[in-house]
Structures are given as structure tokens and as C-alpha cells.
């Protein structure tokens, strides 16, 4: 499955100016999402995954944010150089976004149907009747039961799972090429979480849209993604297709993350859950050299001096670690 890239991010640098300091939230990140593919972006809180998403959408508040370099190519144009008026037409129609908190992402004073209709109205010049049909169609697509009645409900009348379905319906309403899902299931119960993930997978198959799936949950990534990028303090540490990454993780950070997943099992071989020692360094005070060296169990001398380059291991497996140089 090697089709053309739909979105390619090259050496993106999104920085923030905070009290005289420059905070490198996203530093030299390159990612590629192909047609119909899901790219999983994993990392701990504050690693820059949401900022990456916001940069793609052009939603970084400037100031304090600024783009220090890089390019985001989408359908032949560089989104970073696209005028705001054009970006507005792309947002919500060609690239849409699903948020983490279905409880607060819907406007409490409008019916859910009205909110989905609003998105369609913004992007397509259709008669009101067709807009309503489109809304009902997208509610059907996300498997909301009794859509004709449900569109008249207010967000507070719906459960979290239903609201997230509405958010997905909203994201789908204009047939996007790319959906950015920023931790779409983190706020949901596990059972609902599984339903939503399955829904997103089947929608991806039906619509052929690509997904940028952001999460901190490696288990969810295994369900969803074809390619995975692991981020740490604003940099991509390792990138590979999902099978390779789970079978042969290379970066000590990725290995550490995998070990921190609790395994439910019986028998004596059950090991104690391991953790990564230390904590994520503050973006205000990043270490010299490799950003992970302070917590790394396998660090070398070089790690403390120069940041390692991205090293190609073949078949799209890339890792930012001296071990493989």
C-alpha cells in the first residue's frame, strides 16, 4: 500500500515566545501521511503532538507562537504559506478535526443537528433542504440511532459516546481528505472507546480519508494506525510501520514506553510493571545533546554532547539514536 502522500510535513518548527524564552514545542518534525492511511502520533503530555495538529490546521495563536521553519504540503500547496481566507475553506472541509473532550467541544446552546448543519453551510452553497439531508446522512454514517429525532437534541441530552459521534459526524460532513483526531477516545469509557475506534476504522475504509491519530495510548495505536511516529519533547524519536514498531522497537524511549504497558496475565513469568525513570524535561530547560539521555538506560558519551541525527534503518523505519549510527 504505497500511494502518494496526502500530507507531508517537512522539518516543521513551531516555537512559542514565552517571557523572553523561545519554547520549541515542535522542533524539526517530518511526517508523511498517505492516502487512506492512519498515522499514529504517540507521546506523553507536552511532547508537541497537539501543537503539530494545531499547526497543520493553522490554529496556532500568533503571537506567542510562530513558525520557525519547515513546510506542510497538502494537495500540492504549502499550508504554512496559504492565506488565512484560503485556510478557512480548507479547515472543516478538506481537513477536519475531532477533539478530545466531547463534553465541551459542542456548543451547549444549539442542537447537535444545527451544529453539523453549520459546518456544511460554511463550506457548501446548498439549499437548506439538502443541508438537512446531509446532516442526517452523516448521523447515519456515524451510526447514531434515530438520526431524524436525534438532530433536534441538545448536547446535554446526549451521552459522551453519542457526543463524540456527533463530533465525528461534524468532521465528516464535508467529506474531508484528512481527519485529525486529537485523543478522541481519552475522555470516554473503555467500552465506548472501542466502539468509537471501530467506527473510525470503518469510516476510513468507507470514505478513503486519511487520519492523523494522536494519542498517548500505545494500545489504541496498535488498533488504528498503519504508521506510527513516537514524539518526545517536540522531536520525532522513532517512526516505523505499526508491525515493525511493535515487533522491533529500536529507540530506548519507545522500548521504555512498550514496557510500561501493563500486561494482564497469569503465571510466574509476570514481571513487575516497569517505568521510565525521571520525568519529561521542561521545554524551558532542555538538556544538551539527545533530549532523552538523562532518562536513557543505554546512554553513551556522545549522547550528552550532540543531538543524534535521524537514522534510516530501511523500510521507512527511522530512529533518532546513536546506537544505530
Amino acid at each position: 500500500m504505497h500511494t502518494d502522500p496526502l500530507l507531508s510535513i517537512q522539518n516543521l518548527k513551531t516555537y512559542f515566545q514565552v517571557r523572553g524564552d523561545v519554547l520549541k514545542a515542535v522542533d524539526d518534525v517530518s511526517l508523511t501521511i498517505r492516502q487512506g492511511e492512519t498515522l499514529g502520533l504517540v507521546g506523553e503530555s507536552g511532547c508537541g503532538k497537539s501543537v503539530t495538529a494545531a499547526t497543520i490546521m493553522g490554529l496556532i495563536p500568533m503571537p506567542p507562537g510562530f513558525i520557525a521553519g519547515g513546510a506542510i504540503r497538502f494537495e500540492g500547496q504549502d499550508l504554512l504559506k496559504t492565506a488565512e481566507s484560503r485556510m478557512r475553506r480548507i479547515r472543516g472541509s478538506k481537513i477536519s478535526m475531532i477533539f478530545q473532550e466531547p463534553m465541551t467541544s459542542l456548543n451547549p446552546v444549539f442542537t447537535v443537528g444545527e451544529q453539523v448543519a453549520e459546518v456544511v453551510r460554511l463550506h457548501e452553497n446548498l439549499p437548506e433542504k439538502e443541508i438537512q439531508e446531509r446532516v442526517i446522512e452523516s448521523f447515519r454514517l456515524v451510526k447514531i440511532p434515530a438520526p431524524t429525532a436525534r438532530i433536534r437534541e441538545y448536547p446535554h441530552q446526549m451521552s459522551g459516546g453519542m457526543r463524540q459521534r456527533v463530533m465525528i459526524a461534524m468532521a465528516l460532513a464535508c467529506h474531508p481528505r484528512l481527519m485529525i483526531a486529537d485523543e478522541p477516545t481519552t475522555a470516554l469509557d473503555v467500552t465506548i472507546q472501542a466502539q468509537i475506534l471501530e467506527l473510525m476504522n470503518s469510516l476510513k475504509r468507507e470514505t478513503g480519508a486519511s487520519i492523523l491519530f494522536i494519542t498517548h495510548d500505545l494500545g489504541v495505536i496498535a488498533e488504528m494506525a498503519q504508521t506510527v511516529a513516537v514524539m518526545y519533547t517536540g522531536k520525532v524519536m522513532e517512526e516505523a510501520d505499526v508491525k515493525t514498531l511493535f515487533a522491533t522497537p529500536r529507540h530506548p524511549y519507545t522500548i521504555g514506553l512498550m514496557r510500561s504497558i501493563p500486561i494482564v496475565g497469569r503465571g510466574k513469568q509476570q514481571r513487575k510493571l516497569s517505568t521510565i525513570p525521571g520525568s519529561v524535561p521542561s521545554l524551558f530547560n532542555l538538556p544538551q545533546g539527545c533530549l532523552f539521555h538523562e532518562r536513557c538506560p543505554e546512554k553513551w558519551q556522545a549522547c550528552e554532547q550532540e543531538p543524534p541525527p535521524m537514522i534510516e534503518l530501511g523500510q521507512g523505519h527511522r530512529v533518532r539514536c546513536y546506537k544505530y549510527a
Partner: protein
């Protein structure tokens, strides 16, 4: 999962069914549980009805002179008669009729001046709260300057410039109340701005003005409604003050403040000429303030249980 949405039938069930109804009705119910709020609502309803039905219920023409009936006391005092229940003023005009027509003027004036303040104040406040930065600074510092003037003094300045008269008084009162609305709207827009649905609206490709006025603004209605209600009372009071000073309603208009000014000279001989309009102002302002407080209790999410 059973689908209760499908079983929903009439508007009435949407109002009465506590599971399904719109939060608006919860707030109405909450307002009705508030005794002082209801008292305010009753007072205002009475005044409103009086204003609407003025030609039907007032016993006399409010501006018709009756020189034989000058300064008749109210009916319960010796010398009073059932013809003029609340007595007459120095030109023999029926006090009760003048008060009833005065309700018309005061309510119109409240609607117009609060309307002016609300429209301009909300617009400026919403822009300031959403855009932040220098625009916010320019707008709000200007509002601070307006607020720095004593209320009535600024109104006098504006009326002196525009010329005396009821219409200009309404405009002046509207203008001096703009900063109150601007401040409240700015604060609640700033609150709402942080919420995810605003980011979601931006991510959906909406432009700024649309986000402010069609997504955020409806969520700021609660404090605006409260302020409008309180502002109504304040506007009536300010207008009465301007009219008392001769800058608002001109004779023979039966405006309450103007009536107090006319009755001032004969307070010792005929107390009723000045007292009844005073009571009318008191009750109207009290009514709006009670309702405003009741609405605040019903609408403020922090006071919700």
C-alpha cells in the same frame, strides 16, 4: 439502548419532562421559585399592563386641564372625590391618569436606552474580548473614560449638546450605559473563548465574526439579561433625574421625573402631586432590580445546585 428521542412528541412534554426539557425551562422554574424575583416580575407586569392599556384604564385625559379641579387631594382625604382617585395637580390634571401614561413613557424609555446600550455595548465588548491585544485596550480604556464621569453629569453633557427632550434623554442614557454592557460582555466572551467549542468552530472553518456572534454570544446571554433588567431600573431613574432637571421630557408630557419637578413647588400645600410619581419611580425601579437579582440567581451557573 432505547431511544427516548424517538418517543418525544409534543412541545409540552419538552417543557414538562424533566429529563428532556431545554435548560431554559429549568431556569424559568428557578426564577419562579425565587419569591423576590416573582415580586419584581409582578410589579413589572402591572406596570407593563398599565402602559399597554393606558387609553382604556385611565379615567381622564392625562394632559387635559380642568381649572375648577386644581389641586384636589386624593379620594381618602377630606375634599377629595371619586372623580380623581389620586387627586389633581395645579392645572387640575388627573394624577392617576398621568401616572398611568407615565408608565408608558418610562417603559419605552427603558427599552430604547437599554436597547442602545445593549447593542453597542455588546458589540464593543465582544470584539474587545475576542480580539484582545491593542484593540481591547483601546475599546476598554475608552469605556473606562466614560465610566469615570459621574453618571448623571455625563448624561447632562450629552443632552446639553443634543438639546433637551425625551428622545435625546433616551439616547444620552443609552450612551452612558454602553460601558456596563461592554464590560460584562467582554468578561464573558473571554471566559467562553477558552472553551473547546470555540476551537472546534475555528477548526470547522468559521470566520471570527461568525464565531463571536453566532457561537460565543448566545452563551453569554445570562449576564446580559441580568444587566439589562438592572439597567432598565437605572435608566428609568436616570431619565427621571434628567426630566426633573428639565432636560428630559417637556411639559405637558406626563413623565414621572418631570411630574416631581412640577410638584416640587407645592410640596407643603399638595403633597400628593410630588409623592405619587415618586412612589411610581420607586416601585418600577424596585421591580426591575428585584427581577434582575432573581434572574441572576436563576441564571448564574455558579449559584446553580
Amino acid at each position: 439502548m432505547t431511544d427516548r428521542a424517538a418517543t418525544k412528541t409534543s412541545t409540552w412534554t419538552r417543557i414538562t419532562d424533566p429529563e428532556d426539557r431545554h435548560p431554559f425551562f429549568d431556569q424559568v422554574e428557578k426564577l419562579f421559585q425565587n419569591k423576590t424575583g416573582v415580586a419584581g416580575l409582578i410589579i413589572i407586569t402591572v406596570f407593563t399592563l398599565a402602559a399597554i392599556l393606558a387609553p382604556l384604564i385611565s379615567p381622564h385625559d392625562p394632559v387635559e386641564n380642568a381649572l375648577y379641579d386644581q389641586l384636589k387631594p386624593p379620594v381618602w382625604q377630606s375634599g377629595g372625590s371619586a372623580k380623581n382617585l389620586l387627586g389633581t395637580d395645579d392645572l387640575g390634571r388627573d394624577m392617576l391618569s398621568r401616572l398611568i401614561y407615565g408608565a408608558r413613557i418610562s417603559l419605552t424609555l427603558g427599552v430604547v436606552s437599554v436597547g442602545i446600550a445593549l447593542v453597542f455595548g455588546s458589540f464593543l465588548g465582544a470584539i474587545a474580548g475576542y480580539k484582545k491585544g491593542w484593540l481591547d485596550n483601546v475599546i476598554m480604556r475608552f469605556m473606562d473614560i466614560v465610566l469615570a464621569f459621574p453618571h448623571i453629569l455625563l448624561a447632562i453633557v450629552i443632552v446639553a449638546y443634543l438639546g433637551p427632550g425625551l428622545r435625546n434623554a433616551m439616547m444620552a442614557i443609552g450612551i452612558i450605559n454602553i460601558p456596563r454592557f461592554a464590560r460584562i460582555v467582554r468578561a464573558s466572551v473571554m471566559d467562553e473563548y477558552e472553551k473547546d467549542y470555540v476551537t472546534a468552530a475555528r477548526a470547522a472553518g468559521a470566520r471570527d465574526l461568525r464565531i463571536i456572534f453566532s457561537a460565543i454570544f448566545p452563551n453569554c446571554m445570562a449576564p446580559i439579561i441580568v444587566q439589562a433588567s438592572l439597567g432598565f431600573g437605572a435608566a428609568i431613574l436616570d431619565a427621571a433625574g434628567l426630566s426633573f432637571l428639565g432636560l428630559g421630557a417637556q411639559p405637558p408630557t406626563p413623565e414621572w421625573g418631570a411630574m416631581i419637578a412640577e410638584g416640587r413647588a407645592m410640596i407643603l400645600r399638595a403633597w400628593w402631586v410630588m409623592t405619587f410619581p415618586g412612589i411610581a419611580i420607586l416601585l418600577a425601579v424596585l421591580g426591575f432590580n428585584l427581577l434582575g437579582d432573581g434572574l441572576r440567581d436563576a441564571l448564574d451557573p455558579r449559584l446553580r445546585d
